[in-house]
Symmetry: C2
Subunit: 190 residues, 2 copies
């Protein structure tokens, strides 16, 4: 898919129950492994969770879009993700390693969207519980989860000026609106 | 450009002296503003530095690819970047805000490469000196620089297994080789 079309990607929090295939997740990691990282050290590893039992067990320990809660909390078996990707670090994470994770996850999101799959990048979950469920030894090194599934919603973005309010909101038709600052609002010159 | 072709992008540290235009940098920020960010808070701002005098003044305070130094340190006026993009935060940066920066910079790199422009994402620079040069009040909130320019080198990546060594290296023809772990080396299943 054209990169410019991929920029229309949005975070998804309502999913159809069509399963995400392992081959799709592998394609996401093919993108993640090409992402920029500090000194090419490649200190991120991934656990693809496709077992329906494991996905269902992880779900209650994950939290979605506090600002529009409770309407965007996935309903198990109805709008819930059908897979998770756990993003882990090979060492105690530093701010630069979090930045590496951001670069990798952004690449994952593009590769997913190219295949028709939506993502919700999750920083809010119960690390101890999720680490135990994915058999990962160190909750501190389990830095992010990505919820995966085919979209069952179509959020829209809208441009706002520098003085605008970036809070997202649901309209009366249950459509999520995502205000985004314009480039002009974000960029100055020297 | 097709996203899959953009995955062949590599970090560039030797640049031709053709200038990067403001319109190209604006296009990069058009990509960055669509990147995922925590709670849609959009706490990153950008300073595009295109003034040749400012770019030259910043250069001595930036550090490139410690592992292959000194051969990949840009030579002023010969292989140096022709622009910088400063990535700043609207508040004291947390690890999650570093992750936001990673997602935004990865998007910037794709948008640059699509336009034939190479990037070197820099975490290593003298914050006080660079902040003063870009008229930014708080060095702690100046979190990254991106060096920009048209490529004057063609680094190559090569696949390595889980037990491989990710150190990059220059060959006898001055080509930078960038070992990357395969998806199989990075991904396990549940």
């Amino acid at each position: 898919m054209e990169f410019q079309a991929l920029l229309k990607r949005r975070t998804i929090r309502k999913f159809s129950q069509k399963p995400v295939e392992k081959a799709d997740i592998t394609a996401m990691i093919e993108a993640a492994r090409c992402a920029s990282c500090a000194s090419n050290r490649q200190r991120l590893r991934y656990i693809g969770v496709v077992s329906p039992e494991k996905v269902a067990a992880i779900l209650p320990h994950t939290f979605y879009a506090a600002l529009v809660k409770p309407r965007r909390t996935p309903v198990p078996g109805e709008t819930s993700p059908t897979a998770f990707l756990a993003v882990t670090a090979t060492e105690k994470p530093t701010p630069h390693l979090y930045a590496d994770a951001g670069a990798a996850i952004q690449s994952i999101e593009f590769a997913a969207w190219e295949r028709g799959i939506g993502c919700c990048w999750l920083g809010s979950f119960v690390p101890d519980q999720v680490a135990a469920l994915v058999d990962f030894p160190d909750p501190e090194r389990l830095i992010y989860l990505v919820a995966l599934g085919y979209p069952a919603e179509s959020p829209v973005s809208e441009d706002i000026p520098a003085a605008g309010d970036p809070k997202y909101y649901l309209d009366a038709q249950d459509v999520l609106h995502v205000p985004k600052f314009t480039a002009e609002a974000l960029l100055t010159w020297l």
